[in-house]
Symmetry: C2
Subunit: 317 residues, 2 copies
């Protein structure tokens, strides 16, 4: 059994590699829900959608979010009605939001709604939200606050960031099955996701970080940072806002209390050697995910680090 | 000022003729909301949508409902998710339902939501729901009951009908402005709509029928029946369920307490002469609406009957 913690587009790419290698029933994905937001009156869960779609084989490869080949006619009509259109929802994607919103309004939990939708789309891996309670990632600016999607999508992460908080986290509980998936698993993979706003919210749910420290499973992360820059998105800037160096040292620091191995880019191998004193092992490969082959290679590297004795895992050619 | 009572596809065609002749600000449309229903968790108002779209010039001319050139990708995705797909909602059409549902959930009335959406779509005529309260047309079968859309769309009006009732009607009130639009107007036109399930719900709202009896304005209806058959839909069958003859006599009977003139098909002119004793005047023309020219001709006929002294109304060539 493999348990993955993930969020964002890098996470979805990593999971795409894993799903091409592992039997689906051996994979549990614990997904960030700090980006969840109300859109046109519907409950939208961007990271759960991306993971569900990638596992169903329908994630748009060009966009990295939403449904392959989707159209945006409802979005255009909403714009014509004067409604906000900065968050792109495709017409097929909309069906997911409609169904989830209905299930939640009927009293189902987010875990149940996520499972039902994944089943309908033929997903056989387990997709778990980090929590059934609402935990909202809030980006605090020098003046005012933004939701994560306002910061990331609407304002294209151009605002200066003072700090990041996870509203509701202290009252939240891990989703049913999430702690067990961390404790009773063979290994845990942390996707190359933003440590502050993709993995950070998951770690902010009381009990999850403790379970990661306690588990006997190996914990392997793939760095979302190469040199001093994020592979994509605002990770470097957000790390700086938390007084973390935007480097593999900052990633290792974020996860130091539970991480066994950090997989870094080949160009960071020397930097990694100098960090050997902090109690984290390092492995290096080309961690840029441009092609399916890249995704397979990185997924394999992570599995080899996480399951050193597992002969069933073969490095993809 | 012209006030129209309408519902269904025949009503939308008739209003299309009127909007091509009259200045928009002279037209008030009171619309059946007995077909309104919850669909995928959204509030859908089929007749208000058709009237709003036809006034905005975006009603699909092929289908007679929904938005011109619309796609159905969300519907296909909902079907793939195992959700009901018997009520067709286009992707652009969905924007209207999303916005209306949001406005209602924010505490706006149906009248306000209808006005806001119509304004956004550039409609300058006034579109009024018959009521802000929920009045549901229920089709009673020998065993069990159906909503109107279940009867009409899902089961294609094949079920035997015992009776028709308007649930909630006795507790409903006319929408703000509706009674005034009947009392203080130059004339009232009843569209060639189903008298039982399109005009019937409007007349079931307490106060509306009384206002039609009291108004000094002329009341002119266009028959939805030619000979013994409805031009389209289940009008004939539903009239029979109410012990009304499926003929122009049945239409005249339905509206006898307030109607001045009934416009019938040329082929019914002889039948009309034999009915002269019931206190309704008759006029005849070709009332089949296949082309835009047909719609203009019938709208003009209605206006000529309703406004006999109004020289500004010209019969379209």
């Amino acid at each position: 059994m493999i348990t993955v913690l993930t969020g964002g587009t890098g996470g979805a790419k990593f999971v795409d590699g894993l799903r091409r290698i592992l039997p689906p029933q051996e994979l549990t994905i614990i997904v960030n829900t700090g980006d969840d937001h109300d859109w046109w009156g519907l409950y939208v869960s961007p990271d759960i959608d991306s993971i569900t779609y990638v596992l169903a084989g329908i994630l748009s490869p060009e966009r990295g979010w939403g449904v392959r080949g989707d159209t945006f006619h409802c979005l255009q009509a909403m714009k014509a009605l004067g409604e906000p259109d900065w968050f792109s929802v495709g017409d097929r994607d909309l069906a997911t939001h409609l169904l989830r919103s209905q299930l939640l309004s009927q009293g189902r939990t987010l875990t149940e709604a996520t499972r039902l939708i994944a089943e309908k789309l033929g997903v056989r891996s387990r997709v778990l939200p980090m929590s059934d309670q609402r935990v909202e990632t809030r980006i605090e600016k020098p003046a005012g606050e933004l939701s994560f999607e306002e910061y990331f999508v609407k304002r294209r992460y151009q605002d200066p960031v003072k700090s990041v908080r996870f509203a509701g986290a202290s009252e939240s509980k891990p989703a049913p099955g999430a702690l067990e998936a961390i404790i009773k698993t063979d290994s845990i993979l942390i996707a190359p996701s933003n440590p502050i706003t993709s993995i950070g919210p998951i770690l902010a749910v009381p009990g999850i970080r403790e379970a990661l420290r306690e588990t006997a499973a190996r914990v392997v992360a793939v760095s979302p940072i190469i040199g001093n820059a994020a592979v994509s998105g605002p990770a470097a800037r957000l790390m700086a806002s938390q007084n973390l160096p935007a480097s593999i040292a900052g990633i290792a620091d974020s996860y130091a209390d539970f991480l066994d191995t950090l997989i870094v880019h080949d160009s960071d191998a020397e930097t990694a050697q100098a960090l050997s004193s902090i109690g984290v092992e390092f492995a290096s490969t080309d961690i840029l995910m441009r092609t399916t082959e890249d995704r397979l290679r990185i997924a394999n590297s992570a599995l080899v680090c996480a399951l050193p004795d597992n002969a069933a895992v073969k490095v993809a050619s």
